[in-house]
Amino acid sequence: MTTVGFAQTVKNNKFLYRLTFVLFIALTMCYLYIHHLGLDSTLTVRQIWGSTYQILAILGGITGLFVARTWGYKSLFGKAILFFAIGLLLQAFGQSVDSFYNFFLNATIPYPSLGDLGFMGSVFAYIIASIYLLKATGIQVSIKSIKGKALAICIPLILLVTCYFFFLQGYQFDWTNKLKIFLDFGYPLGQATYVSIALLAYISSKNYFGGTLRLPFVFLIIALIFQYISDFTFLYQANAGTWYVGGLNDFMYFVSYTIMTLALIYFGGVHKAILDQDK
């Protein structure tokens, strides 16, 4: 039996693919136009753009909830997809709170704020999703080799050490604000954790993993890596004081939401396509 190709899955979710594509093109054109006008005169429109693109995260999150149900909430795939969807919705929640501060309170976004509940919550959701993905891709099978065991130790270790040197070396502790300390450590370490688990899932299974489920799985890993690059860039720019609303980092988040949304739609399409296959 030949594997189900991407084209065979598209017909199952044409509307969602079209909607995602149209939103992506429209918001990209707006972004390019705003930046064509320059930064100084466009603060308000950049804020509007920065609070609009989360629509992709909401679309992906709601789609993911339905797709998880089709795979079954009790299955590892269903649980992984469910937590990716929750992660996207939590990101959207965090962005909504930030936008509220910008537009209605006309204030600088405090740190920590209610929005961090969404952003930090999404990091936890992605960690849980990655663990389910790791289990689903047969880590219990591939980890049996010495190389597999070495990878399981080395990948998270390298990423955690790298993130420590980038963001936490020489950190000044202010014990009067314990929540800030938790978030300052939680963001970089949590993000390094979900991406290292996802990379471990990919690398440990890449010599064996083929078939119909390989492509949607790879798509999901790419989405997570892009999310990580966006998170990493945000922390880097925020620490350096170079982050601004509606800038390149916001565009990166927009792209990573789009990829995650497409990956979740793909998982929905492949479920139906598998069952539609002839004997």
């Binding site: 039996m1 594997t3 089709t70 795979w71 079954g72 009790k74 299955s75 590892l76 795939f77 269903g78 289990k135 689903a136 891709t137 047969g138 219990q140 099978v141 591939s142 299974s205 010599n207 064996y208 993993f209 083929g210 078939g211 119909t212 489920l213 390989r214 479920h271 598998i274 069952l275 296959q277 004997k279």
Partner: protein, 94 residues
């Protein structure tokens, strides 16, 4: 259930855990000579040549996962294979 039906049941249960019962049982029922008599407990009945049926079931896992699917089937049936003599073991599980 006989040994082959137990093996098929274990393989399907393993897949149910990962991809859910709809896809796992749906694909298993596409194998000629295999029927899932109780989807809840994943009890199966094999009619016809059992080794061929198991080989086809492994093929369905391969369709989903590539070689990983074959490894998963071997992992799922590892304990039960010990109950069979070497010439009774289906080729795809050797």
């Amino acid at each position: 259930m006989n040994n082959y039906e137990h093996i098929a049941s274990e393989i399907i249960k393993y897949q149910v855990k990962i991809i859910g019962s709809v896809v796992a049982i749906g694909l298993a029922e596409k194998v000629k000579g295999l029927s899932v008599t109780n989807p809840k407990n994943v009890t199966v009945a094999i009619s016809g040549e059992p080794k061929k049926v198991i080989n086809e079931l492994v093929g369905q896992c391969e369709f989903l996962w590539g070689n990983l699917g074959v490894l998963e089937c071997k992992d799922a049936s590892e304990k039960l294979l010990g109950l069979l003599s070497s010439n009774e073991i289906p080729d795809r599980l050797k």
